[in-house]
């Protein structure tokens, strides 16, 4: 029974990682860059939701929608201001810029909202479901459900809609996509918007499960979700899902059965081992280089 309850909390944590990892993986797939600022967009989303609920007494749903809107705009602004001018630049330059943006967001939040931790209110109360000996909180159920819904919608979106097809085309070959009349810049912007909107949802879920909110809240889950994306195969949407869930479960089990303090070391060691055995990640495609 202990095992089962750890598994469930692992899946819940993993669902959050999966939602964040989707943002990383979609941006990587299409823009071929690691958006290090993604974790901090999560933090911004959580703060927006927090202030909407606590200061302006708005209902949780409105708070979440506001957070999604603000983060979507923020993601597009970041892309336009910092990444778009560097489309042709070497990947190192883009990566360093992304780190700069991440620091900018963190320290901006530090100045705006101070470093004193905010206690995030639960968005759906503290209800629990009792199944025999097993107790599952509503937040856990909601997190897993939201993750499944997002996965389903995204699969449909990328597979069936015109915009989704454009996204896949761009990630395959930007030049050819442009020749076919696809608005490449618009598509990339759209990808950032979707990823950042998802980050806001992940932020709210994350803070509902772990209710301490500080300006660095997003950075560790961001790094871990990124690890999850690499783990599952960066660029692949099912990969991000699988990687996120696995990472959440591994982390929870490491905390439960090995040691709380060493769980981070275990998680990152798993990443290194996976890269050693399957450099492209679990579901990633191995691309042969053409000369």
């Amino acid at each position: 029974m202990r095992f089962l309850s750890f598994l469930i909390s692992g899946l819940s944590l993993g669902s959050i990682y999966a939602i964040i990892a989707l943002g990383y993986t979609m941006v990587y797939g299409i823009a071929k860059m690691l958006n290090f600022a993604h974790g901090d967009v999560i933090m911004v989303g959580s703060y927006i939701c927090f202030f909407a609920m606590m200061r302006y007494n708005l209902p949780p749903v409105v708070g979440v929608i506001l957070a999604v809107i603000v983060c979507t705009i923020l993601g597009m602004v970041i892309e336009r201001a910092a990444y778009k001018p560097l489309r042709q630049a070497p990947s190192l330059a883009v990566l360093i810029t992304a780190i700069g943006v991440s620091y900018f967001l963190q320290n901006g939040a530090l100045l705006l909202w101070t470093s004193s931790p905010k206690v995030f209110p639960s968005i759906i109360g503290n209800g629990k479901i009792q199944l025999g000996e097993l107790t599952i909180s509503h937040v856990t159920l909601l997190t897993v459900a939201v993750c499944l819904v997002i996965m389903a919608v995204l699969t449909w979106f990328t597979g069936r809609t015109k915009m989704g097809k454009a996204m896949r085309a761009c990630s395959e070959d930007k030049g050819a996509a442009q020749l076919m009349g696809i608005d490449v810049n618009g598509t990339i912007s759209m990808t950032f918007a979707i990823g950042s909107g998802l980050a806001a949802i992940a932020g709210v879920l994350l803070c509902s499960a772990y209710p301490t909110l500080v300006p660095t809240t997003g950075s560790m889950p961001g790094i871990k979700a990124f690890t999850a994306a690499v783990f599952g195969g960066i660029g692949s949407i099912p990969g991000a899902f699988l990687g996120g869930l696995l990472l959440g479960v591994i982390e929870t089990f490491a905390k439960a059965y090995i040691s709380t303090q060493l769980s981070d070391a275990v998680v990152f060691s798993v990443l290194i081992i996976v890269l050693l055995v399957r450099p492209a990640g679990l579901l990633g495609k191995v691309i042969n280089e053409k000369v």
Partner: protein, 348 residues
């Protein structure tokens, strides 16, 4: 080629002149206490920046865990120094041996990280070094090491299992790190380490190895096709970079009475990366100048401290946009063309 040589002499001259000036100022007592306390950290950061520049600027691979190697060197080197307190009474010699040990462990860590990663291409090194930095931090935060006449005692998570003979002492105490370190780092030792680092890095860059490494950076496929063993040369550069970071870590740690693993976190890695980027990728002299300025500046602008990291972030973004965006690149090359001369050639 000519420009590179002058650049090299500028670096050496700069460091020697700075050392001479600081020594004269210290001797005449015109230097403030806070400045004196910063001399060793400045030296350590200069070495960190130069060594990271070797990986990022010259090899062209991003490392996000350089502080991890620094941490490795700091902990192993300091432990070695504490163990040698009686056997090597001369402080300078003890510091030297400790730095060598720190460098060796840093190099070993670099080698172990390099084996899985350097045969891959792409951003993998960034990811794995990032992971490595976190692993090292989490291990040193939970490692307990004791030392007595029978040797070392290791224990993870708690110090309960460590039983020391009389006269033994705890070296590493988990999250408390190493305490009661005798401060034996000196500015002269830092100066010697910088000169050694410059010597090693310039020697490497100008050798057959350096040319191969830069060929890999500029065009991996072309380098491979003329028979350059990519993994070997990448590994050489990376291990040297990690070893230098290890030595710098020992120097840095022995300047404080306590040292904890959290001092060498992701933020420290990023800070060093900022030093390298500001100084210019591949530009060693630039790294020296930016490391010096950015270590002194926060101290000089204490009132500005809250905005410091925000300014770092903005500077980082602006520098990257300015030097890499296609729009500004055009602008710069236009200006250069108007000024005439052989500016373009000098860029090589």
């Amino acid at each position: 080629m000519k420009r590179k040589n002058t650049n090299k002499y500028v670096s050496f001259a700069l460091v020697i002149a700075a050392y001479a000036i600081m020594m004269i100022l210290t001797a005449s007592g015109k230097i403030t206490r806070s400045m004196q306390g910063m001399l060793v950290p400045i030296c350590a950061y200069i070495v960190m920046a130069i060594s990271l520049n070797l990986t990022v600027g010259i090899l062209g691979e991003l490392s996000l865990g350089h502080a991890g190697f620094m941490s490795m060197g700091a902990f192993t080197g300091t432990c070695a120094a504490l163990m040698m307190t009686e056997s090597v009474p001369d402080e300078g010699l003890r510091l030297g041996i400790s730095m060598v040990i720190g460098a060796i462990f840093g190099g070993i860590a670099g080698f172990l990280i390099g084996i899985p990663v350097l045969r891959l291409k792409g951003d993998y090194l960034a990811i794995v070094t990032l992971a490595f930095g976190e692993i090292i931090k989490s291990i040193f935060n939970n490692l307990y090491v004791g030392f007595d006449k029978y040797g070392l005692n290791f224990q993870l998570l708690s110090e309960k299992g460590i039983k020391l003979e009389e006269g033994g002492r705890m070296l590493i105490q988990g999250a408390m790190g190493i305490s009661k370190i005798k401060k034996i780092s000196t500015f002269t030792a830092g100066f010697i380490l910088i000169i050694l680092t410059l010597f090693i890095v310039y020697h490497l860059v100008e050798s057959r190895y350096g040319r191969a490494i830069m060929a890999i950076r500029d065009n991996r496929i072309a380098a491979e096709s003329v028979g350059v063993d990519v993994t070997k040369y990448k590994m050489t550069a990376f291990v040297i970079s990690a070893a230098l970071a290890g030595a710098a870590g020992t120097l840095f740690a022995m300047n404080y009475s306590t040292i904890t693993a959290n001092k060498f976190d992701f933020n420290t890695s990023i800070l060093i990366l900022v030093l390298v980027v500001l100084g210019g990728l591949g530009n060693i002299t630039g790294s020296i100048i930016s490391a010096t300025l950015l270590t002194i500046l926060p101290e000089a602008l204490r009132g500005f401290a809250t905005y410091r990291m925000l300014v770092y972030a903005i500077v980082l973004i602006v520098v990257m946009l300015f030097t890499n965006a296609s729009g500004t690149k055009m602008l710069i090359s236009n200006i250069k063309a108007k000024l005439g001369g052989n500016k373009e050639e000098e860029e090589q």
